[in-house]
Each structure stands twice: as structure tokens, then as C-alpha cells.
């Protein structure tokens, strides 16, 4: 009881300091984690000082180590593109020749991200997609916050149809693949509607887009087209085995890539005699830099880090010129530096997450979870109206690793909802799916949000506040559909 109050107090105080900008998240998040774990160590016999120091602060800081290294590699590749002038000339060309289509570019970017994220996931993929999409968005007059929103919506959109994410529901709630897939399709369409609404409204508000007919046409066109695509993809997602296109695509792309590298080598040899007087010029194949690692992940099923290594190597040969080796080394160092704010934030997030769900490899129940669970269970509504209104209003509790954060509490939430809360498994899935969208799109403690905010030089809190109205409305809609389908 006392511990639960303390946890709630820490969350409220932390939130207040961040929103009022008294403390930046980079300090507030780890402090919240330390306060929660410290409270548990003092108030509960189940947690010890060693849990606090070694478990939460020590191991918690390293919890997101993979994401941190990925962020560093991503920064390196991004820096390479900037230093070689590739990014600049990409941006310049985009602004000059596509400068007046912010809506088209935004919606297409969102769909591109969605398409990719139906098969990949994780921060590495976010960075890879962002490196392609952000510069182009920036040039069409889309403000940074909206550009970030476009990507976050796209990522969530793809995630709903990513069969890998469905496994959670199938294994913990015992649902059939078909049940999950059909609800996923509904959430996909709702998310798409919310995402397109976000883009259309924010662009119209900022004055970047002023043609209502044009707007409406795009919105309707996108919705119908993407709906069709999603339906096809759901049918494919429930099928077994790797998709049929993969093997031939690997063959063709691999061959083309080999030819390209050979061509670059020949070009370099041709230029070799006059190497010293070579002027820095961006060659056409340099524009493929962000696409090479992306293809590695999507088509060749490479893990993210090796894909980045290939990308960095390709970036070096694609921008080969006098001094390009030292430029590459410089990019590695400066690129990593540019990612440091995101890495520091991830350390803080790791501490907070660990404080909430408990240090890894620890025996016995973690008192923080145990303190929250009964309250969550007691609040689970059982009537359809209570279900929609209750979970709808509570949706923001999924932010900042709050009690409704499905990925923070992991399988725990699902179990609480069905066993202690008494919800049907399908209804529990609808909650996780709908509320999960709010968390997935807005949460300033998502590594994707943190990295994007850092890259766009905006505050993750600002990003959240701008996206929340759309995501929240989306959660209500998802819950309403969920209630209609599962609560009869």
C-alpha cells in the first residue's frame, strides 16, 4: 500500500518536472528509477540495497545496450552522409525539385515506413528508414515535429501487421492466428486514419498545405489503397514459411550490387592518374548509401549491426576521393558523438524500466510489480462501456513506463487482465493493441522516439504532446471496436 503510493508519487512528480521543464528527461528518468527502486528497498522486505545498486543502477544502465550501440552506428552512417556532401545534395535536390508536395511526400514516407516495418523492427531499422525519409521531409517544408510523427506513425502502422509481434498474443493469451490477424487489420486501418489525419491537419495548420481538395483526394486515395494492401498482407502474414519473392530478389539485388561495386572500382581506377587534383563531387551511386544497409536487413535478413557495417563500408567506397579515409574516421568519431544524448537518455530509460519490472535474473517476485498489480487488476472494467471509457481514459498511463505499458510489464499485463481482471482473452488483446498504439507512437521513453527527437533537435516531450491527441483518439476507436467484437 505504502509502496504503491510512493510509486504513484514518484511517477507524478517525475512527470510534472519533465512537462514543466524543470528537469530534462535525461536526469528525470534515471532519478525516477532510482527513487522507485530505493522506495522498494526501504519499504519492502523483498528488495535489497543490492537490488538497487547492482540491479537497477548497475545492470539497468546497460539494459538497452543493444539499442545504444545501434544508435552509435546509426550516427556514424548519418555523419558519413553529411560529411561527404551526400546528404546536402540529396536535401538540396529534394527541396529544389519536390519543394511543394509536403502532403504527398509525407503520406508516401509514412507508407514506406509502414511497408518496411511489417517485416523488420528495432531501432536500427528506424534509423535506416529515417536516414532516407527525414532529409526529404525537411525539404518540403514539413516541420521537424511533424516529420517525426510521420515516421512514428509509419513504424506503428507496420508493426501492427508484423507477424512477429502477433506471437505475444498467440502464446500468452492462447488466441488463434486468425483472431489476432483480423483485429490487427482493424487497428491498422484505424492507425492509418489517425496518421493521415495527423499529417493533413498538422500540415494545414502550419500553412505548408493549403489546398483542401488536394488534401481530401490524398486522404481518401491513401486510405482505400492501403486498406487493400493491408488485407493482402494479413492473408500473407498468416501463411507459413518465408515469402516466395525473397529468393529471386536476393539473387537479383545481390548481382546488381556486385556489378555496382565493380563499376565503382573501375571508376576509381579511371580517376586514379589524376587523383591528387580530384575535386569533391557527389557521384550518383552515393545516393544509394542509406538503401544498401536497408536492403541488407529487409531482403537478406542480415542482423542490424552487420548491415550498418556494410553500409559504412559502402559509404566509404561510394564517396572515394582524396582524404576520404580520414573523413570516414572522422565521421565514425563525430557520428558517435552526435548520438550521445540519445545514448544517455537510453541509460536513464534502462534504469527506470529495470526499477519497474525488476532486475534481470533475480529470484522471487519484484515488489514494485507486486505493488502495482492488485490496483491494476481491481480497476479492470467488466462492462463494455466501462471497458471503452475506462481503458480509453487510462491510455496515457502507458507512457513513461507507466502501469499500462504493455511492453514494460510485458506478458504480465496480459496475465493480469485475463486472470485477475476476468476479461476474455480477445478483449485483453484489444486493450493491449489499442493502448499499445498510444505507447508505441508517443512514448518519450521509446528508443525510436528518443533517437528521432535527437536527430530532429526537438524535445521528445514536445513530440509526445503533438502526437497524443491523434493516438489517444485512435485508442478510443480501437477499444470501441474491440468492445463491439469481444464483449458481448
Amino acid at each position: 500500500m505504502l509502496l504503491a503510493l510512493w510509486i504513484a508519487g514518484v511517477f507524478l512528480a517525475g512527470l510534472a518536472t519533465m512537462v514543466a521543464r524543470v528537469l530534462p528527461a535525461i536526469l528525470a528518468l534515471p532519478l525516477m528509477g532510482i527513487a522507485i527502486a530505493g522506495g522498494a528497498a526501504v519499504l519492502s522486505p523483498d528488495a535489497t540495497a543490492s537490488d538497487l545498486f547492482a540491479g537497477v543502477i548497475g545492470a539497468g544502465s546497460l539494459r538497452l545496450h543493444e539499442a545504444m550501440v545501434v544508435a552509435l552506428f546509426g550516427g556514424m552512417l548519418s555523419s558519413q552522409m553529411q560529411k561527404s556532401g551526400t546528404a546536402e545534395s540529396l536535401v538540396k535536390g529534394g527541396a529544389e525539385l519536390f519543394g511543394e508536395g509536403p502532403l504527398a511526400v509525407s503520406v508516401l514516407s509514412m507508407l514506406l515506413a509502414a511497408l518496411l516495418f511489417t517485416s523488420v523492427g528495432g531501432l536500427g531499422a528506424v534509423i535506416l528508414v529515417a536516414l532516407v525519409v527525414l532529409p526529404v521531409l525537411a525539404t518540403t517544408g514539413v516541420e521537424p515535429v511533424v516529420a517525426g510523427g510521420v515516421l512514428l506513425f509509419g513504424i506503428s502502422l507496420g508493426g501492427t501487421l508484423n507477424a512477429g509481434n502477433w506471437v505475444v498474443y498467440q502464446s500468452t493469451l492462447g488466441l488463434a492466428p486468425n483472431e489476432v490477424a483480423s483485429f490487427a487489420l482493424i487497428v491498422f486501418l484505424l492507425t492509418l486514419a489517425a496518421g493521415v489525419a495527423f499529417v493533413a491537419i498538422e500540415l494545414a495548420r502550419s500553412g505548408a498545405e493549403r489546398r483542401p481538395a488536394h488534401l481530401a483526394g490524398w486522404v481518401l486515395g491513401t486510405l482505400s489503397l492501403a486498406g487493400l494492401g493491408a488485407w493482402l498482407s494479413v492473408r500473407g502474414g498468416t501463411a507459413e514459411g518465408p515469402p516466395a519473392w525473397k529468393a529471386p530478389a536476393q539473387l537479383v539485388l545481390g548481382g546488381l550490387f556486385a556489378l555496382l561495386v565493380a563499376w565503382i572500382a573501375i571508376d576509381a581506377l579511371r580517376r586514379a592518374p589524376r587523383w591528387r587534383r580530384e575535386v569533391a563531387r557527389v557521384r550518383p551511386w552515393a545516393y544509394l548509401i542509406p538503401l544498401v544497409p536497408l536492403a541488407g536487413v529487409v531482403v537478406f535478413d542480415l542482423p542490424v549491426l552487420p548491415a550498418f557495417v556494410i553500409g559504412i563500408a559502402y559509404a566509404w567506397i561510394a564517396t572515394l576521393r582524396p582524404g576520404s579515409l580520414s573523413m570516414t574516421v572522422q565521421s565514425l568519431v563525430e557520428g558517435a558523438q552526435s548520438s550521445i544524448p540519445a545514448v544517455l537518455l537510453m541509460i536513464g530509460i534502462g534504469v527506470l524500466v529495470t526499477a519497474v519490472i525488476g532486475p534481470a535474473g533475480r529470484d522471487g517476485a519484484w515488489p514494485v510489480l507486486a505493488a502495482i498489480e492488485p490496483y491494476v487488476a481491481a480497476c479492470v472494467p467488466t462492462t463494455p462501456l466501462g471497458y471503452v471509457v475506462g481503458f480509453g481514459l487510462a491510455a496515457p498511463l502507458s507512457l513513461y513506463r507507466g502501469p499500462l505499458n504493455v511492453w514494460g510489464l510485458g506478458f504480465g499485463t496480459a496475465a493480469i487482465l485475463t486472470t485477475s481482471g476476468g476479461l476474455p482473452p480477445a478483449a485483453a488483446m484489444a486493450v493491449l493493441f489499442s493502448v499499445g498504439q498510444v505507447q508505441g507512437i508517443c512514448d518519450p521513453t521509446n528508443t525510436a522516439n528518443v533517437w528521432l527527437a535527437n536527430e530532429l533537435r526537438v524535445d521528445p516531450q514536445t513530440l509526445m504532446l503533438r502526437l497524443l491527441p491523434y493516438a489517444w483518439a485512435l485508442a478510443f476507436a480501437g477499444l470501441a471496436v474491440g468492445a463491439a467484437l469481444t464483449m458481448r
Binding site: 530534462p24 546536402e88 525539385l97 516541420e143 521537424p144 533537435r457
Partner: protein, 713 residues
């Protein structure tokens, strides 16, 4: 009398063209004249400009040789765009290599919508310049465009911002052929081929007419013996010489409202506040912050343009706006106004007795809700119930709008007899209705500038100011004042105009040399247009979002106007002004430094944080020698420092006082006080850029400067 130097300002309004003569030394009004605006004359509004000037010289007995400057606003560009009175434009698109496919589409604009139902016709030709530009090809394209009906030409090249040789060649060939022409990348240096082309097209479409007008005005001026330079008001509130209008008429798009704003800045000396210029039918509202009006990206129809214009919001209520009644209740005021409806004003009615109220539609498409007064039995109404009348009923009008309170009251009593209540109640309700239209716009402007909680004054100008501004300010809980000579304030603004030009350029990561280049270009441009070198202040901004660097240079016209005849305030007077601004006793104010021109004042003030914790603040203000506030800050530090140490100091303090959020660094506000200029470094994004700009600012300075730093947020 022979030493008198007079500046003439002419404002072209919707109904009247006002001209004023202002003594350049004392800023006193020495004469004014008014003629009807000549919308329909063959020479356009230029006729009225010339007429008003001649009438002014005659009536105020000003010798042409006494005139040192003539500046006028013009509604010609605005009207031309609204009415589609523009020349068809031929576009020559240029690009090389892979960009050509896209560039061909982006330079083909078709019909450009200027206003609802009004279009500008354009024709396009495209030349691939992969192997250079051949004169013959260009000539053929121009011939074809002319044959299709183009009367002006735009040359627009993909990536022309970086290299516009081909554009310039096409423009040259077009001029040889007798077609006025615009090079798109000369007009704006921002990436975005389509918008850049459109901006140039709008500019070119006005060229034939504006050239004619400029020539006419100039020769008429010469004929009347005036040899002073002729200037035009720009959309950003500054003035430019007529030569610049010949090349870039697009810059006069919002010339009309710009004159009033110029007066608010230079005559009313409003450095922070809202300026509301109230005409007969409508009001223009503009926000002024730190001595600069708020600007926005210009547009035509629903399309963006690459020009900066004043962020002026117009609402349909003015001094002559008529009252409306629906179902026996007062429901709205305006947009129809008394003089458009052909009615007299209630406040100036000489025989108000026995009038009866009628509800009718003044013009054909108006709703039948407008109230007017008529003599019993008369077929037509003769007197309107206006905001001006309401202000007189309530005793709010003391200046230009002051009529006869008794007449006004008896007019409004006629209304009260029909709808019930008293004349006063009806008048109050009427002014409430006017405030309903104006107040939300003022609020929105303040909110957008994130000044929602500041208590900025509202200043009214224009003939109808007293009818609208006091009541609206009261509604908003803000202080207000009515400008001196409010009815001719725009003409005064034109006369006092500051020579201004700005240079905008797309730059991804601005280097020091980029900043210096735009700064120098802007400065050179205002010198060329006749600004006095010592008076020029350049404001450089880095817009990280749009990836644009922008320099705005302003300087007073070079007339040596500052040999003031009037008495300057003494040190004690200045101290009193400072004490008022800093909100402390006069004895507590410290004068930090001061040249003859600008002085810096500060004080220590104890405030309570959250009402409890005492903390010390050091508010600061910069006054010019006439006691005008150039800058006021709630909490700032000021350091006097020799020129060679300024750069290092700026770099150090800008880094130390930067605030960090999760989104990166936010440097403090930094200002430099030079002998006669206040350099504003607040538009820059990093301490390095600030230091670089500081170095450019102190170049050539010998006397110590004051560096002012204030933490943001």
C-alpha cells in the same frame, strides 16, 4: 525658413489619398492634403499620388526645393492581384541532366489563381542546358511565348540559386526583344523551383504596369520641381527607392498597411505592442516586437511565395461600420460601412431630431439586417448607426472621431425606441460587437508569438481608431492609446519610412562566411537605395527549420535629418523614463554607459518567486537620446567592453548562459550597443554564430561597446 527640410509622405487608402509634410528635424506636421483615391484613372492610383503632392505643396506653401524626400504607399500591386489586372507571363524553364525531367514540370505553372475566380495566364517553354544555352534556342522560345500572348518573361533555372548565368542570359535576350523580364533566382535565393518560379511569375506579371506607373510618378515629380528621392513603401514596413520597384514590384504587395505600421514604429515609437489601424470599413492588426513588426511568408490565392510580408490581419470592422439587427436584437456590426452605403454618420448628423430607425439591405447582396435612420416619410435612409456614433454616445471620442454627443445620442435613442433599452446600452452593445471581431484576432496574434501573458499596449491609428480601439483594449484588459494625428498616420509613416531590404538564402549548415555574405549583401542594398551608412543596423537570422539564412538591413534615408531643432531630454528626464520601464525608483537606476545616441540603464529589483522566495533581478533598458525605448529586458547582464574583447565575451557568455533541453542548446539573447546602433544577435542559433556576427559588428569600432546578455525562457 530657408533651412526648413520637409519629408512628404503619401498614403493611398481605399477611399482617400492623404499627403502630409513632416518637418524632418522636429517631426512636426507642417501640412496635409487629401484627394480621392484614383482607382479608375488611366494612370491608376499614381494620379492621386501626384495630385495629393501638388495640392499639399500649394496649400501648405512648401517650396519644391524644401522637400528632401517623397515616399508613398501604393495599393496598385494589391489591386492588380485582386482584380487580375496583370500581364500574361511566358516562362522559360532551364535545367540540365537528370533534373530536367522534374524541372520541366515544376516550371510549368499553367493558370495561377490570384484570388477567387481570378487567374493569371502563363505559357511555358523548356530548354535543356546539358550542353549550355544557345542564344538561338532562347530567342526561338521567347518568340513562341510572345506569339502566344506573353507580355512579360520569367527565366527560371533548376538550382539557379547556385548558378544563374543562363537565367540572366535569357532575361537579357527578353529585354532586347522589348519584353520586361525577371530572373527567378535573382528575386529569391531559396530552394524550391516551383515556388521560386511562381514568385517570379507574380513579379513579372506586374512589371509592365508598374514600370509605367513608376515613370509617370517620377516625371510628374520632376515637373513639379521636386528633386528629392522618390521612395515606395514595401510589404515589410520599410521603404525602397522607385528603381527597386521597377525590378521587384512584388515587394509592394502589402504597401498600404505597411505605411501605418511604419508610423507606429517611427512616429508613435511603439517598440512592443499591437497596432490597430482602423479605417472606415476595416481594420488592420499587426504585432510589433522589439521594434520590429511581425512578418510572415507571403502568398497569393492559396499558394506560397518566397517573399516576406507583414503579418497583417484584416477584420471587417471600422469607424463607419454599420449596425445589424436580427429578430429585434443587435447581432453584428459591419462589414458594410456608412460611406459605401452612401449614408451620413450618426455622430456628425446636424438634424438628428425625428429620425426613425429602419432595417434594410444597403447594397444588393447585403442581408436585410442593417439599421439606418430615415426622416419620416422619406423613401431612403440617410444616416447610419456606426461604431463612431456609439463611441460618441459613450463619450469615448476626443480627437478626430469626436462629433456631437447629443446628435449621436438622439440617433441611438431612435434605435432604442424600436428595440427597447437605452441609447447607452445599445451603444455599449454595439462596441462589444466590434470588439468581438477585433479582440480574438489580437489574442491569436499574441498567442502565436507566445506573448499571451504579456501586457502589451494596444495603439490605435487611422480615422476610426477611437471608435474601435479603446473598447477592444478594455475587453482584453490591455492598456491603449490613440496615436497623434491618427487620421493621417499612414501618410506620416510613409514620410518617416526607414530604408529597408532583406536577403534570404537557403543554407544547410550556415558557416561564418555565409552569414557574412548575406549581411553584406543586405547592407549594400540599402546603401544603394540611399540609406545613411552610419545608421544601418543589420539583423541576421538563422532559421533552422526552413534552413534559411536571412539578413534584414535598415537605415535612415541619408538626409542628415537628425540635426534636431527640438530640445533633447536631459539626463534626469532619461532617468525618469528608465525608472518607469524598470519599475523602480529613479534613485535606484544606474546609467551603465552611453554614447550621445544610446544609453543603457539598469537596476536591481527584488521579486518573489512563487510569491515566497526573494530573488534579485536586474532589469535593463536601452534608450535613445530622445528617450525612446529601444530595448527592455526583465533580467539581463550588461558589460562595457573594448571592441577587441567583444567577440570572446559574446562567445563565452553565450555558451555559459545557454539553456539545455533534450532537444539541444538554446543560446541566450545577445545584443550589442554601439555608438548609434543596437545590434540584435537574437536570430542566431549557436554561440559560434553569435561570436562571428559580433566580430562583424565591431569591425571599425574604436569606442567601448556594451554587451547585453539575457537568458531565454
Amino acid at each position: 525658413m530657408s533651412a526648413r527640410r520637409v519629408k512628404v509622405g503619401i498614403d493611398v487608402g481605399g477611399t482617400f489619398t492623404h499627403a502630409v509634410a513632416v518637418d524632418a528635424a522636429t517631426l512636426e506636421l507642417v501640412g496635409k492634403s487629401v484627394v480621392p483615391t484614383t482607382h479608375h484613372a488611366r494612370e491608376g492610383v499614381a494620379r492621386g499620388v501626384v495630385d495629393a503632392l501638388q495640392k499639399l505643396l500649394l496649400e501648405a506653401r512648401i517650396a519644391p526645393s524644401e522637400v528632401v524626400l517623397v515616399a508613398h504607399s501604393t495599393t496598385q500591386a494589391t489591386n492588380a492581384l485582386l482584380e487580375g489586372d496583370v500581364a500574361p507571363v511566358g516562362i522559360v524553364g532551364l535545367a540540365a541532366g537528370a533534373a530536367a525531367v522534374r524541372a520541366k514540370r515544376e516550371t510549368r505553372l499553367g493558370d495561377v489563381e490570384l484570388a477567387r475566380g481570378v487567374h493569371l495566364r502563363t505559357f511555358s517553354r523548356f530548354l535543356d542546358t546539358a550542353h549550355g544555352l544557345k542564344d538561338d534556342d532562347a530567342r526561338r522560345a521567347l518568340d513562341e511565348l510572345a506569339a502566344e500572348g506573353a507580355r512579360a518573361v520569367v527565366a527560371s533555372q533548376a538550382f539557379g540559386v547556385e548558378d544563374r548565368v543562363h537565367e540572366e542570359r535569357v532575361v537579357e535576350l527578353a529585354r532586347e526583344r522589348g519584353l520586361p523580364a525577371t530572373a527567378a533566382s535573382e528575386l529569391s535565393q531559396i530552394w524550391g523551383l516551383r515556388i521560386r518560379t511562381r514568385t517570379a511569375v507574380i513579379n513579372a506579371s506586374m512589371l509592365p504596369k508598374m514600370l509605367e506607373t513608376a515613370n509617370l510618378t517620377e516625371s510628374a515629380l520632376k515637373e513639379s520641381g521636386v528633386t528629392a528621392p522618390l521612395m515606395v513603401l514595401r510589404s515589410d514596413g520599410g521603404i525602397m527607392d522607385i528603381e527597386a520597384m521597377r525590378k521587384r514590384p512584388i515587394l509592394t504587395m502589402l504597401s498600404g498597411p505597411a505605411a501605418g505600421v511604419a508610423a507606429a514604429l517611427l512616429y508613435e515609437r511603439l517598440s512592443d505592442g499591437v497596432f490597430v489601424e482602423v479605417g472606415g470599413t476595416s481594420s488592420d492588426i499587426c504585432l510589433i516586437r522589439r521594434g520590429r513588426p511581425r512578418l510572415t511568408q507571403g502568398s497569393v490565392g492559396r499558394h506560397r511565395l518566397f517573399v516576406r510580408t507583414l503579418d497583417v490581419r484584416t477584420v471587417g470592422v471600422g469607424g463607419g461600420s454599420m449596425l445589424r439587427v436580427r429578430r429585434g436584437k443587435l447581432c453584428e456590426i459591419g462589414p458594410r460601412s456608412a460611406h459605401i452605403a452612401g449614408l451620413g454618420y450618426d455622430a456628425f448628423e446636424e438634424r438628428p431630431e425625428g429620425l426613425e430607425a429602419r432595417v434594410y439591405a444597403p447594397l444588393e447582396r447585403d442581408p436585410a439586417e442593417y439599421v439606418a435612420l430615415a426622416r419620416p416619410g422619406a423613401e431612403r435612409a440617410s444616416v447610419a448607426l456606426t461604431t463612431t456614433g456609439a463611441a460618441n454616445v459613450l463619450g469615448l471620442a476626443h480627437g478626430y472621431s469626436k462629433g456631437d454627443a447629443t446628435s449621436a445620442t438622439s440617433c441611438w435613442s431612435a434605435l432604442a425606441r424600436t428595440i427597447g433599452g437605452s441609447a447607452q446600452a445599445a451603444a455599449e452593445r454595439a462596441l462589444d460587437l466590434a470588439a468581438d471581431k477585433v479582440a480574438p484576432v489580437v489574442k491569436a496574434l499574441l498567442a502565436e508569438a507566445k506573448l499571451g501573458r504579456e501586457r502589451l499596449p494596444v495603439v490605435g491609428g487611422g480615422g476610426g481608431a477611437e471608435a474601435v480601439v479603446p473598447w477592444t483594449a478594455k475587453r482584453l484588459g490591455l492598456e491603449h492609446r490613440i496615436a497623434k494625428n491618427a487620421e493621417v498616420i499612414s501618410a506620416i509613416g510613409a514620410a518617416l519610412g526607414i530604408v529597408q531590404d532583406s536577403v534570404e538564402r537557403s543554407v544547410l549548415e550556415p558557416s561564418e562566411s555565409d552569414l557574412e555574405a548575406v549581411r553584406r549583401e543586405a547592407e549594400a542594398s540599402v546603401v544603394r537605395m540611399g540609406a545613411e551608412a552610419g545608421s544601418i543596423e543589420v539583423h541576421v537570422e538563422v532559421d533552422r527549420r526552413a534552413r534559411v539564412v536571412r539578413a534584414t538591413a535598415r537605415g535612415t534615408p541619408d538626409l542628415r535629418t537628425r540635426e534636431l531643432g527640438g530640445k533633447l531630454p536631459g539626463e534626469d528626464d532619461l532617468r525618469a523614463v528608465a525608472a518607469r520601464i524598470l519599475k523602480v525608483e529613479a534613485a535606484a537606476v544606474t546609467k551603465l554607459s552611453g554614447s550621445d545616441w544610446l544609453s543603457v540603464w539598469t537596476a536591481e529589483r527584488r521579486v518573489r518567486l512563487l510569491g515566497i522566495f526573494p530573488v534579485m533581478r536586474t532589469p535593463l533598458c536601452v534608450l535613445d537620446r530622445e528617450g525612446v525605448v529601444r530595448l527592455a529586458l526583465d533580467d539581463a547582464e550588461a558589460t562595457t567592453c573594448p571592441p577587441h574583447e567583444v567577440e570572446a565575451l559574446v562567445r563565452r557568455r553565450a555558451s555559459e548562459l545557454a539553456t539545455f533541453g533534450d532537444g539541444g542548446m538554446l543560446p541566450p539573447d545577445v545584443f550589442l550597443v554601439k555608438s548609434a546602433q543596437l545590434a540584435d544577435l537574437t536570430g542566431l542559433a549557436t554561440p559560434d554564430q553569435m561570436a562571428a556576427m559580433a566580430r562583424m559588428e565591431v569591425r571599425g569600432a574604436a569606442a567601448p561597446l556594451v554587451v547585453i546578455v539575457s537568458r531565454r525562457g
